[in-house]
Symmetry: C2
Subunit: 339 residues, 2 copies
Amino acid sequence: MVTIPDKRLTIRDIAALAKVGTSTVSRVLNNSGYVKAEVRARIDAVIAQTRYTPSEPAKQLKSRRSGLIGVIIPKINSYTTGEVVAGISATLAPSRCQMLLANTDNSVAQEQEAYDLFRRQRVAGVLHLATTVNDPLVDAMREAGLPMVLIGQDASHLGIASVIQNERSAARMMTEHLIENGHRRIGLVTVGEEDIQVGGERTAGYLEALQAHGLSVDPELIVRTSFKAEAGEEAAERLLRLTGSRRCTAILAVTDRLAVGAMACLHDHGIRVPQDMAVAGVGDSDMARMVRPALSTVHYDYAGTGAQAAQLMMDMLDAQHSDAARIVMPYRLALRRST
Amino acid sequence: MVTIPDKRLTIRDIAALAKVGTSTVSRVLNNSGYVKAEVRARIDAVIAQTRYTPSEPAKQLKSRRSGLIGVIIPKINSYTTGEVVAGISATLAPSRCQMLLANTDNSVAQEQEAYDLFRRQRVAGVLHLATTVNDPLVDAMREAGLPMVLIGQDASHLGIASVIQNERSAARMMTEHLIENGHRRIGLVTVGEEDIQVGGERTAGYLEALQAHGLSVDPELIVRTSFKAEAGEEAAERLLRLTGSRRCTAILAVTDRLAVGAMACLHDHGIRVPQDMAVAGVGDSDMARMVRPALSTVHYDYAGTGAQAAQLMMDMLDAQHSDAARIVMPYRLALRRST
DNA sequence: TTGTATGCGTTATCAG
DNA sequence: CTGATAACGCATACAA
C-alpha cells in the first residue's frame, strides 16, 4: 500500500514510492536496459496503483521526438475528407501516434496559421489534404525540414511526397463509358480550376475523352459551379435551358454531390434517369448507392489513400529518407442504374 | 515516435543574436512585462529573420498549461460527427488551441487507449462525442481531474458537463406530425439500445407519441437494425412483408441514412412516397435535401453543438469551475416532400 | 527595463 | 544491474 500524493505524480514520486532511482523507473517505463525482475515488479505495482502517466511533453523535450502528426484538411464535413481521415487515423493508431487536426476552410491564412501551430507543437510531420498547392507554404515547410505528405495533389516534382488519384484518367474513362452508351452530347458540371484535381483534372479527362472520340466540345454544355448544396441543381437547370438537339443526353458531374443535385433537378422536371438523360458522378460517396436510380460513379479508395499517406509518413520518419515518393491510387468505375 | 530534425533554434539563440537576455526575448514573445520599443524591434527582427518558433512542449512543461484539447469521436466519417467537429474546430481556432482527434470506432478498448494517450499528452481537457456513457471511464477521468464535456449523452447527474439534443422530444414531435397527417400504423426503423440517444431516446419518443394519441404499439412495426449502408433498405423490406391492413402507411427512421435507405427500397417496390407511404428521418443530413422526394426530418444544429461544447470547455478552463453544466440544444422539424 | 539562475519531468551518461 | 546528475527549451522570481 502506498500513499498517493495529490499533486500530479512525477517519475520522482514513483521512484520514491518504489524506493528506487528515477533512472530505474525510466528503464521499466521504456523497457530499456536491465532491471531485476523483482524490482521491476515493485515499480509496476506502484505505477498501477498510482495510475501514473508519464508526461509526453517532458519526454519530448528531452528526447526530441514527437508522437504528434499534424493533419491539415480543407473541410472536415465532407465524405472524402472523412474517409481519408479515417484511413489516417487507423494507420496511426497502432504506432500510438496522435493526430493534430486543423481545418482550414480552404483559407490560405488559416492554412498558414495551422502550420505555425504545428511547428510550435513540434509535430513529427504533416499530412496535408489539399485542393491546390500553395507553393510558398511548401517552400517554407521544406526549408523548415518538416516531413510532409501531400494528399490529393501532386507536388513530387517539388520534392514533396504525394499520394494522389489519377483524376484525369478516371474522368476520361467515365466519359468514355457514356460515349460507348451512344451519347454524343454530354453535359459537364464542374467547378473552378482553383481546385486543381476536381476542377482541373477531371475536366481535362472529360475533354480528352471527347477529343479522342472525335466529338466536338460545346462550351454551352460545360457549366462551372461551386460546391455548395444547391450547385448541382442549378447547374442542371442551366443545362436544361438548351432544347431540342442542342440539349445533352447525358451529364457528367465532377462530384457525386453535384450529380445527385442534378438528378434532383431532372426529377423535378419529370425527366427520367437514365432513359431521358444519363447522369454520372465521381467519388462514390455513400450517397451514390442510396439514391434512386443508384448513381454510376468512379470509385476511389479514399480510406486507403489516407492510410497510404500515413504509412508513407511513418516510413519517412523512421527511415529519415525523404525521396519524394509519388503514390497513385487505383480507381474503378462503379456502374449502377443512372447511366 | 520519431526524431525531429534538430537544427532548431532556441530562445537562447535568439537572445544571443539580438544581444539581449533570454528573459527579454521571452517577454516580447509573450507580450508580458516592459521592453524598450527599440529592443523589442530588434528582437522581433531576429525572430522574423530566423523564423524562430517557440517550443510548445517546453513552454507547457514550465507553465503547466496546455493548448491541446482531446476530442474523442466514435466514427469520423459520418455527417453528424463531421458537423460537430467542424463546430469544435471553429470555436477552438481563435484561442489557438489545437485539436487532438481520436477515432474510437465505437470500441471501449480504443476509447480507453485514447484517454490514456490524452493524459500522456497532458491535454487541457477532453471533448467526448459519445453514443453511450462508459461509467468506469468517466470515473477515471473525474478522479484524474481532467475537465471534460460530453457531447450527445447526458452525464450531468454524474457531475460531467454535457451538451445534448432533446432526442426524445424531437422523435415524439416528428411522430406526432405523422399522426396528424392521418397515419395510424407507423413503422419504426431503429437501432440497438446500446446507442442510448439514437436507439433508446428516439425510440422512446416514438412510443410516447403513439401512447399519447391512444394508438397501440405493434411490435411487428418496429424493426431494429444497424448503421450499415444497406440497413435502411433491409428494414423497409421487412416492413413490406406485412400486407393489407397490417402494413404501415408511414415509416419513421431514426436517422436520415436509414430513411433514405428505406425510400430506396420503396422505390424499388414501386411504392410512391409520400402518396403510398410517408417516410421521415432524424438528423437533417445533407442527403435529406438532395434526395427525391426531399426528406422530412428533424433538424439539429450539430455544428452549434460542437461549438457550444468547445465554448463550455474554454469557460471551464479559464474559470476553473466545473459545475457540470447541462446544455440542451434546440431542434426543429424540417418538413419536406416525403411526408 | 533588463539579465541571471532555477526548475518543470524526462532520458541518457556515467560512475558505482 | 542501479542511481546520481546533467541537459532539453522555456518562464519566472529575483537581482541589478
